[in-house]
């Protein structure tokens, strides 16, 4: 065991402070909430409806956009072309845009005056205030998580294996589905869960696209605004527990076995 230097002790102290900043508010919130109030909140229909809506819209949006994000991630991992950096930049853009601004952008894109809004309207669908609109707003801000993880996953698959598969008479489509995708799957699944979890916790863009029906982050805001901190706390705890569940499962999945 190497001896700890005074410098290391200072670093450990600073690191401990940082952990405290994250853990202390969460712990105090959980400790300040009684089990009874948690149980009551978990049985409240408005709460359960919002949680179901949040999970379904985020999952639906993640699933839908993964059909576009994964193929693009593969192309970005394998091909060199002009404008590649530009595409990377565009994908990462939602990370730096304020989420309320992103909400305004999405709203403009799906409102009844827009091309997409008009098209949806013609089949009797109003995207604003609709779960599809919510899913779009969630996906808009969370897509970089899936895309970047998938691209990194594909980049880690040796090109040699794909070449060997081609030589073994697999079509490029078959190579993708039997070699590239399975070997990048851990990374893709972890990106999928990240995007899903990030979508669930999204407030800024969702509140602009759809105040109703209420997703859980919007409901927390609504209850806090109307009834105050004590009333909003139990629902916040319930929602955090649900997010934690996904976060822990993500950590378990990405705790990758070393592959040769």
């Amino acid at each position: 065991m190497t001896k700890l230097q005074p410098l290391h002790l200072v670093f450990i102290f600073l690191g401990g402070l940082l952990l405290l900043v994250i853990v202390a508010p969460l712990a105090s919130m959980v400790l300040a909430t009684s089990p009874t109030s948690l149980l009551n909140t978990a049985q409240n229909k408005a709460v359960t409806d919002s949680i179901i809506l949040t999970i379904l819209t985020s999952f639906g949006g993640t699933l839908f956009f993964s059909f576009m994000a994964i193929p693009l991630a593969y192309i970005m991992a394998r091909k060199q072309f002009i404008g590649k950096r530009l595409i990377s930049g565009i994908i990462d853009l939602p990370i730096v845009i304020p989420h309320t601004a992103a909400g305004i952008a999405v709203l403009g894109f799906i409102s009844r005056d827009s091309f997409l809004g008009k098209a949806a309207d013609s089949v009797g669908l109003n995207l604003v205030g609709h779960p599809i609109g919510i899913a779009a707003a969630m996906a808009f801000v969370s897509i970089p998580f899936l895309f970047n993880a998938a691209r990194d996953g594909f980049e880690a698959v040796p090109v040699r294996l794909e070449k060997a598969a081609l030589n073994l008479k697999a079509s490029p489509l078959k190579v993708f589905f039997t070699i590239s995708l399975p070997l990048a799957s851990r990374s893709i699944i972890s990106g999928f869960i990240m995007m899903f979890a990030r979508g669930m916790s999204e407030f800024g863009s969702v509140v602009i696209v759809a105040y109703h029906p209420m997703t859980t982050p919007v409901l927390i805001f609504e209850w806090f605004n109307s009834y105050g901190l004590n009333y909003a706390r139990p629902i916040a705890v319930v929602f955090i527990l649900i997010c934690l569940l996904f976060f822990i499962s993500l950590r378990l999945i990405t705790k990758e076995k070393k592959r040769v």
Binding site: P158, K163, A164, S171, V260
Partner: protein, 348 residues
């Protein structure tokens, strides 16, 4: 016949220039060159994984340069084997069979047969990440041979194999070749080339500098590169006589040490290991011959002598030794070298 006509490829820092090769059906053809000479890319161009900048590839007179990878009758085994890590041994070998239309159960049945042929029948359910280099090599070979390719391309197949397994794998490669599959094998190891090749092509600085049998290439190297590359100036076809002795070129018995008991092979001796004296001096060296000095010519560090002792032996000595021994063309001299200085490479 597999034919490369004027194949050129620009590859960043180095390039291949106008490569012309004709590989006959049934041959064991070795492409010999230093690491980074573009040998692997040459194989990938034959397999269609890399497109040449210019030139064409023909199989039996048919231009396949622009054919799809899947339509060529060419199987390639990569240096790192490229065995699929997410499949077990059986799934790896069955993979190409499923690709050409066999059902999973048929493919598995056939794959078991190929695995048995490669002596890996007991590894079928093993995860490939737990296999040794030699085992991975056999999986890769079985998988490629399952498609019955006419041409088998091997990229440094013995490079990541333990020394003790190399002989075994050489035997396996010869067996595959004898079964009628033409092999194109690239390597940087001249012993491997001598041991396996019907013909050798030497690639240097992006060009083919010589094509011929092992005797042609090592006895009459057409470039300084080959001579320097191996460092071996004395190279003889050898027939096994008895333990630790072989008959060189059918003329002179040379003593050497070997663990291999094969009838045919080659003997190699560095010119630096040959001692020249004006009379017979008893020493620990087992090989002592009297011969006639045929010629001497200067080389980078001294003089190279050509001495006829029944076979021609090249010896490398200093200018000072030439003077002190008073060497002249036609003079009788004694040549000696230790049995341990002689390298025997079997070739059947």
């Amino acid at each position: 016949m597999l034919e490369l006509r004027n194949i050129s490829k620009q590859l960043g820092e180095f390039s291949l220039h106008a490569i012309n090769l004709q590989i006959k059906e049934g041959e064991y053809f070795v492409v010999l060159g230093m690491s980074g000479a573009g040998k692997s890319v040459l194989l990938e161009m034959i397999a269609g994984l890399v497109h040449p900048t210019s030139g064409q590839v023909f199989i039996n007179g048919r231009d396949i340069t622009n054919d799809k990878i899947q339509d060529r009758e060419v199987g390639i085994v990569f240096q790192d084997f490229a065995v699929f890590p997410h499949m077990n041994v059986l799934q790896n070998i069955a993979y190409p069979l499923i690709n050409i239309g066999y059902s999973t159960s048929e493919a598995h049945l056939l794959a078991k047969g190929y695995a048995e042929n490669m002596s890996i029948g007991h590894l079928l359910q093993r995860k490939t990440t737990t296999l040794s280099g030699g085992e991975l090599q056999r999986v890769a070979l079985a998988r490629t041979l399952a498609l019955k390719p006419r041409f088998l391309l091997l990229d440094e197949p013995l490079a990541s194999i333990d020394l003790q397994l190399k002989d075994e794998l050489r035997g396996l490669l010869r067996k595959i070749n004898r079964s009628g599959i033409t092999i194109v094998h690239v390597t940087h190891d001249y012993e491997e080339a001598i041991s396996l090749a019907t013909r050798i092509a030497v690639v240097h600085s992006g060009k083919v500098v010589q094509v011929g049998s092992a005797e042609d290439v090592f006895n009459a190297p057409k470039s300084q590169f080959i001579a320097h590359f191996t460092g071996v100036k004395n190279f003889y076809k050898a027939t096994f006589v008895e333990e630790n002795s072989s008959l060189a070129e059918g003329k002179v018995v040379i003593k050497h040490y070997t663990s291999v008991q094969e009838k045919e092979g080659y003997l190699m001796l560095r010119s630096e290991d040959v001692i020249v004296s004006s009379s017979h001096n008893p020493s620990s060296a087992l090989n002592n011959f009297e011969g006639e000095l045929l010629d001497f010519f200067p080389c980078i560090q001294g003089i190279e002598l050509m001495i006829d002792v029944g076979i021609k032996i090249r010896a490398h000595i200093t200018h000072a030794s030439v003077k002190s021994l008073d060497l002249k063309v036609g003079k009788k001299v004694w040549v000696s070298f230790k049995a341990s200085a002689v390298k025997y490479v079997p070739h059947s």
